[in-house]
């Protein structure tokens, strides 16, 4: 077996593709973790006053959780499409870079939109505190933020699926 230098390893296709998957899962997860955390703090404050609103607040808290799932999804798509699950992955450097770049839309939108969606959800929980009947409007506000994570996910997935066609 020939010796691998650091730079050879660093620019190996497999490493770059895994880096992409790691970014998608990691950044998306960070965004969601922060978002769900922010919403959860607000929800806990409300539950102290009115435990009956647990169900409504739980839904609002769950909304910013999707970015992490989207990132996870892109990670899985990378593993499936690059053959990491079967153990036969052998990507060229350019393919690896392609996958890395393909993961970025989902990773970046997930990070930022997750946090901001969490803030909108927390504000929505304040709505539930005063007007429990308006919970669906608060949900729509939170969903407005999620739009961009969905678009990021869509582009990432479409790009990753296409990896076979990249030389």
């Amino acid at each position: 077996m020939e010796a691998t230098t650091f730079s050879q390893f660093f620019f190996s296709g497999n490493f770059l593709a895994v880096l992409g998957a790691a970014l998608a899962v990691g950044l998306g997860g960070i965004g969601s973790a922060k978002g769900v955390g922010i919403a959860g703090e607000a929800a806990a404050g409300l539950i102290a006053e009115d435990p009956d609103k647990f169900g409504q607040t739980l839904i609002l808290q769950a909304l910013p959780g999707t970015q992490g799932i989207y990132g996870f999804l892109v990670g899985i798509m990378v593993m499936l499409n690059c053959g990491f699950l079967g153990g036969s992955a052998a990507l060229t450097s350019s393919q690896g870079l392609y996958v890395l770049a393909a993961c970025l839309p989902c990773a970046l939108t997930g990070l930022v939109s997750g946090i901001h969606q969490g803030r909108v959800s927390a504000a929505g929980i304040n709505v539930v505190a005063k007007r429990p009947n308006e919970v669906s409007k608060a949900m729509i506000y939170a969903a407005m933020v999620e739009t961009y994570a969905i678009l990021g996910l869509l582009i990432s997935v479409l790009l990753v699926i296409n990896v076979g066609n990249v030389a």
Binding site: A62, I69, L73, I76, M77, S136, I140, I150, L154, I161
Partner: protein, 651 residues
């Protein structure tokens, strides 16, 4: 459809007021408004006084019912959120003797609750006293004895910092006529008894004061500490037995909790009846009220009012009046009024979007979840829920009905996409049995996402065009058909023409349509400006709106994205589930992973599908035409909590 409202103005004799109000409440179809809405309000305002709602005492009664119901609720059978409501006639809700029974039971329950609390308190008190006496239990002296003929007996507790030997020594130095005995000692304190001759009281006290001691209060005890402890223990036991006996009584009372709830609703009815009085003006002999009824109910109300010697009018709403809004739709569309109401009701002169929104909601939801397995779960859960729980009109029923139709749609799109709990069949066959199974499908979102994306855009365009069509219709209804055609019709031409440019076959027609549309917009959109240049500039600027149409259409890409996301998560669950292999442990692991994962995915993806379908309705669709801001129709009725007042006519 928005029901047409009529304004009811009624003037009647005070003698008949109660009867009329009761009949109107029974009919549940009149919304009574403040008297300032009476048309000649100014001319009658000075002659009349507003009614007063006397609810204070009723609220107190209600509060007592509430606490009684809460007290028995833990012992109720088949209670809970989905408990069925009783049905009662209106007249039964006014039955005085039934109410008396309810009050009797309520007072009994509240009395029992009070006694239980007392017993529990007494028990706790006894426990505290036992704890206080425990250190003295080795002393066989009668605690009530504080002196004999010549001696004083002093009980002392000394803090841990007290040096007992020093105390003993100082006492001995002060006088020989005293005796100090240590009863018990623990880490925190020592219990002492000091007996001395009355003559040396001052000397002894002088010594004791120098040490950190307390005198426990035994005034209420007779007999030795051990005797007291055993009697207190008996008392405690008696208390807890008594509390148990009372709780049994509460359980018996819980069997007739229905009566309590009926009583609660009877008071609620009275409160609702009182509240409306604030909206009724009266002089010494007549009263006046005004309100809204739907045209359909007009005859019903007429029939009621004709029984009385009162004067009333029913008129169409006038300019400047703001009638409440009530929607009426076919049985299939009705549950989706929930979606409209969540946004906001339409204005009284607007249009009810529910019938138009329904088919799109069903299709979009189905495409976003798009899994026959999940669809079947939702469909069955909601269907069984409707059959078993028989919820009355309201949120739960509507939500379940929506679940039934959207579940069916999800099954349909699942079949189209070939999703049955994701790739369950293919995955299990491949990894456990090494066989390749292909599931038939029409569209494959994973391998051919572009087709699904284009389908999403086309459906989105239809959705938007429908909204724009409704806008033209609304403008036409208000006599602005020409404006509608110029402002929206020309966009139709341009927006149909542009995509046609993309295909060679239709490019020619597309070119003509695009040019006609764009030119038309440039020429018409500045028509309100006076200056010719401003007309042109405004016209050209209006083309910039194309970006908003573009972003509206692109927004429908979420249909593909959510469909993909749900499907891929389902696949991942199946892959993880089949990883442990085909053996006993593997199968158990698979079942656990599959059930947990599917429940999670169904919850998250279902929530996402609902939220984003709603968003497409509220932002993209409603944005094109909807005029929101109607006030909901709230008829005067008894807002009972536990009882359904039957709609049937009383004899």
């Amino acid at each position: 459809m928005i029901l047409k409202m009529q304004k009811l103005t009624l003037i009647g004799f005070l003698a008949e007021k109660e009867a009329i109000l009761q009949d109107l409440m029974k009919k549940k179809c009149v919304q009574i408004e403040g008297p300032e809405n009476i048309r000649d309000y100014d001319s009658i305002a000075q002659m009349t006084v507003a009614g007063v709602a006397q609810t204070y005492e009723l609220e107190q009664e209600l509060a007592q019912f509430t606490s009684a119901i809460r007290a028995v609720s833990p012992y109720e059978e088949n209670g809970g959120m989905f408990a069925k409501k009783d049905v009662a006639d209106f007249s039964a809700m006014l039955d005085k003797s039934l109410y008396k029974e309810a009050v009797q039971l309520r007072d009994e329950v509240n009395g029992i609750v009070k006694q239980i609390a007392e017993q529990k308190n007494a028990g706790a008190r006894a426990q505290l006293q036992i704890a206080a006496l425990e250190p003295w239990k080795d002393l066989d002296l009668d605690l009530s004895v504080t002196q004999t003929r010549s001696c004083s007996v002093l009980y002392l507790t000394a803090g841990a910092d007290v040096n007992l030997e020093e105390l003993q020594k100082q006492l001995e130095e002060a006088t020989p006529l005293c005796y100090l005995h240590k009863v018990s000692s623990s880490a925190e304190a020592s219990c002492l008894i000091l007996i001395y001759h009355k003559q040396v009281h001052d000397a002894v006290m002088g010594v004791v004061k120098g040490f950190n001691t307390n005198r426990p209060d035994f005034a209420s005890f007779k007999g030795s500490a051990a005797e007291n402890i055993s009697s207190l223990k008996n008392k405690m036991e008696a208390c807890s037995k008594e509390a148990q006996r009372l709780t049994e009584q509460l359980k018996v009372a819980a069997k007739s909790s229905k009566l309590l709830k009926t009583g609660f609703d009877m008071v609620t009815l009275q409160i609702d009846d009182q509240k409306v009085r604030e909206n009724i003006f009266q002089t010494q002999s007549v009263f006046a009220l005004t309100g809204w009824i739907t045209e359909n109910d007009a005859n019903k109300v007429k029939k009621v009012l004709d029984k009385y010697s009162c004067y009333y009018t029913l008129e169409q709403p006038q300019e400047g009046e703001d009638p409440p809004v009530k929607l009426k739709n076919s049985k299939f569309v009705k549950p989706y009024e929930l979606i409209t109401e969540m946004y906001s009701l339409p204005t009284p002169d607007g249009i009810d979007p529910t019938p138009m929104l329904t088919p799109f909601f069903i299709v979009f939801f189905g495409m976003m979840l798009a899994d026959a397995g999940y669809g079947l779960v939702i469909f069955l859960l909601c269907l069984i829920g409707l059959k078993k729980l028989k919820p009355d009109e309201g949120f739960l029923k509507s939500a379940m009905q929506i679940g039934v139709s959207c579940g069916l749609s999800t099954i349909f799109w699942g079949i189209i996409y070939g999703g049955y709990f994701g790739n369950l069949v293919t995955q299990v066959a491949e990894s456990w049995f090494g066989k390749t199974v292909t599931v038939p499908l029409v569209l494959d979102p994973l391998n051919d996402p572009m087709s699904v994306m284009i389908l999403s855009f086309v459906l989105g365009a239809i959705h938007l065009f429908t909204g724009m069509g409704i806008k033209i219709y609304m403008m036409a209804k208000r006599g602005h058909l020409l404006d509608g055609l110029m402002d929206i019709g020309l966009w139709y031409v341009l927006l149909v023409g542009l995509p046609m440019l993309a295909l060679p076959a239709t490019a020619g027609v597309g070119k003509v349509l695009s040019i006609v549309g764009a030119a038309g917009l440039i020429l018409t959109q500045g028509r309100h400006e006076k200056n010719i240049f401003m007309k042109l500039i405004k016209g050209v600027m209006s083309l910039y709106d194309i970006t908003s149409y573009l972003s509206d259409v692109l927004s429908y890409a979420r249909i593909l994205a959510l469909g993909l996301a749900g499907g891929v998560i389902a696949n991942v669950i199946n892959i993880m589930g089949t990883m442990p292999g085909f053996n006993i442990i593997g199968i158990i692991a698979f079942v656990l992973i599959f059930l947990g994962g599917s429940a999670f995915n169904l919850a998250i993806s279902g929530l996402g599908a609902y939220v984003h379908t709603s968003r497409l309705q509220y932002v993209e669709f409603f944005g094109k035409f909807y005029e929101a801001g109607g006030k909901p129709f709230k008829p005067f009725k008894a807002n009972t909590k536990y009882t359904l007042i039957s709609d049937k006519e009383d004899k």
